[in-house]
Assembly symmetry: C2
């Protein structure tokens, strides 16, 4: 075996060692968390979503104007796959194959040494997913009502979640207005939706 062959092999070793984890040689970031479906189109819930990127947590949120405060308020935790988060940080919008998980968790108030306010308890009350898959879904995105680890069917596009996200979401049918690390990026990248900007303009009139 000649020296040049060994030298080229050593270069390959050095190049592989120098690559950032999760990157390809061409600079593209690999999405290790693409959505996975059964043959009949149900989505398989990801098991490791608690290691994805946390976007925000709200308590007792409601979009219903007639809603009154709950005496058993719940937390909503939102996670997104890390590859999509990194793309959003650069572009202000979501790449294809983005996956959101919304985890609904019960709250406690008095517990251990806590005397006030609310903390998250071990009881998970439900999950939803919101997934971008341009080739698969008519509108690019679909919602799924997830029950544990079982494959989940797509929520029909007649459901109100599609209409509300379409009409009011800040970026690409997602509620970036409630994700505080992402909203400034969308503002800077000018990726806020026309309908969201209209909502904000209307709101400014009533507030001021």
């Amino acid at each position: 075996m000649s020296r040049p062959v060994l030298f080229r092999l050593a270069l390959v070793v050095a190049a592989v060692a120098a690559l950032p984890i999760g990157s390809f040689a061409d600079g593209q970031t690999k999405n290790a968390h693409e959505p996975v479906y059964t043959s009949d189109g149900r989505i398989i819930p990801p098991k490791d979503y608690r290691e994805w990127v946390f976007l925000s947590s709200g308590l007792d949120m409601s979009y219903n104007k007639k809603a009154i405060a709950s005496d058993k308020p719940v937390f909503d935790n939102v996670f997104v796959n890390p590859e999509a988060y990194r793309v959003f940080r650069q572009t202000g919008t979501w790449p294809d194959k983005t996956q959101f998980v919304l985890e609904v968790r019960s709250s406690s108030s008095k517990g251990s040494i806590n005397q006030r306010g609310h903390f998250q308890s071990t009881d998970v009350l439900g999950f939803e997913m919101h997934v971008k898959d341009m080739a698969r879904f008519d509108r690019g995105w679909a919602f799924f009502d997830v029950d544990g680890n079982a494959p989940a069917a797509k929520i029909p596009t007649t459901a109100t979640c599609y209409a509300c996200h379409g009409e009011h979401a800040a970026v690409d049918t997602t509620f970036v207005q409630f994700y505080p690390t992402l909203l400034p990026i969308a503002q800077k990248q000018a990726t806020l939706s026309a309908s969201y900007l209209k909502d904000e303009a209307e709101l400014a009139k009533t507030v001021h």
Copy 2:
């Protein structure tokens, strides 16, 4: 260059390619997020903590029995470096070089289409860190009051945070009782502290 040398090099290449990302050949997980200090012992706040593992979020929590509800409640988001999280999932306790970041964020209630409850806003009110570094700190752990990206001095061990965490924290001076995905693991691994178990026994007497 002889064939055996090239063969051994090829074996190294194959072995490196077969390793899971983030692991060493000996099976230990590499910690890419070890604490970094200045020469005078201040900690350098991590810039990417929002990509670490989210443990929980609370609203308006207080350990003071006399505390009354705030009219401007804040969210506390807790993140831990992913390598430490994975070790905890296996062992029920924290490895050396574990780093926690506590992010204190202001809340909004009416905003965009939200009508009720609280969501997190873009205003970060402060940070704290809690770091395990056995060789560096007398008690194994230290707290840091962080102001932006500036290196942060260790909070003196006379501060109440050390005493409270030492007396009431569920696992290794950390408030695992408020981290819902970790508490069941600590229970299963029997890593709950004696002082926490005593607190819970006392609480059970008053509640029942």
